[in-house]
Amino acid sequence: MNQTEELANESRLVGAAISGDADAFADLFNRYYAMIHAFAYRLTLSAHDADDIAQETFVSAARAIGGFRREASFKNWLYQIAANRQRDLFRQRQRRRDFNLPLTAGIEETHVAGGDGDIADFSPLHAALAALPDDWRHALVLAYYENRNHAEATQILGCAEATVSWRIFRAKRQLKQRLHHAAKRHE
């Protein structure tokens, strides 16, 4: 299926879901769950959080799909909901004071795609990404992993385009510096 056909099919599914077709919504779920799960993982660097955020994203999407504007991008809408759910999750944790460790201290074991078993990811890249401020990592993930342009990232993150550009620039620079230092230590 080419891109145009894919978009037409997506538009048809979204239209049907807006009209109340549960099968169409289930198709959209199947189509985008893995994408949103991967996005949530890259935002949080935690497989458990990715599970929670992916679920909450689709529950919120199900509740709000009646108000979705068909001319908008459904994918970007899901990214926006997922980014908001991630912020909500972290805010709740801060309120409960059970999230007082930096992400670097919480590098967890992850089930790696394509692997046979559980592989602990303690890579310098993982640590360097975890050390980035959340806002910077969000902008970087959208631009580099999800291939969203700056205007789309602006819409998803709800901030000015200049702010997104700046966060990406700072995130890239900090990441390069950390990876460079990690490589030097390894030598």
Partner: protein, 200 residues
């Protein structure tokens, strides 16, 4: 794919857990089914909003076309070719991969050069950042992605400059951020920043 993208691709992403996925689907479909279908009234109000938005969009586009015309006329006018920009280009040619910035203040010109050529100082898009306070003006001529360190009212400033994909300049010093949308002051100085139309 560039080197940075290749490095980022080294992050493994866990495969979604099948049970969690099924549970998520169940909850999402339950939420979907509990939704009330759209009423005709909602559809009508949506139609009215859409019409209003179309008019707004048309007006916005017309305003944008006029603005672009004005900006282009300004950018292509000879007045916009800053003599300071020419000076920056000339110094950059004299000291390849060494020039970080030129600071003009009270008639003095300070050139910030590295001791030796550094690949991180390869010229990028030239920029002009002006700080202005009560008749006092400081012009900083540098390049996108640079950090310029100087003294401002006894405080050591590390001004970082960046040209965005949209052609706007962002200026930062630590937590301070200036952009077209956030026109904050730095130690009481008003900031203006723009790319320089200089051939390098």
């Amino acid at each position: 794919m560039n080197d940075f993208e290749k490095i980022l691709n080294g992050l493994p992403v866990p495969r979604p857990d099948a049970d969690r996925k099924e549970r998520a689907k169940y909850h999402a479909l339950m939420a979907f089914k509990s939704q009330t279908p759209n009423s005709k009234l909602q559809e009508n109000s949506k139609f009215q909003i859409t019409n209003f938005k179309t008019i707004l969009r048309f007006c916005g586009k017309a305003a944008l076309i006029v603005s672009v015309g004005v900006v282009l006329a300004f950018l292509t006018s000879p007045r916009h070719t800053n003599p300071s920009g020419k000076m920056l280009a000339q110094i950059a040619q004299l000291f390849p991969d060494q020039l970080n910035a030129v600071i003009e203040r009270d008639g003095d010109t300070r050139i910030i050069l590295a001791d030796r050529a550094d690949p991180s100082l390869t010229v990028t898009q030239p920029l002009l950042v002006s700080l202005e306070r009560r008749g006092e003006k400081i012009n900083i001529l540098s390049f996108s992605g640079r950090v310029v360190r100087f003294n401002l009212d006894g405080r050591e400033i590390s001004l970082e400059t960046l040209l965005t994909a949209g052609g706007h300049v962002i200026v930062s010093d630590g937590d301070f951020l200036w952009s077209r949308e956030n026109s904050n002051r730095l130690l009481g100085y008003n900031i203006q920043a723009r790319p320089l139309m200089v051939k390098l």
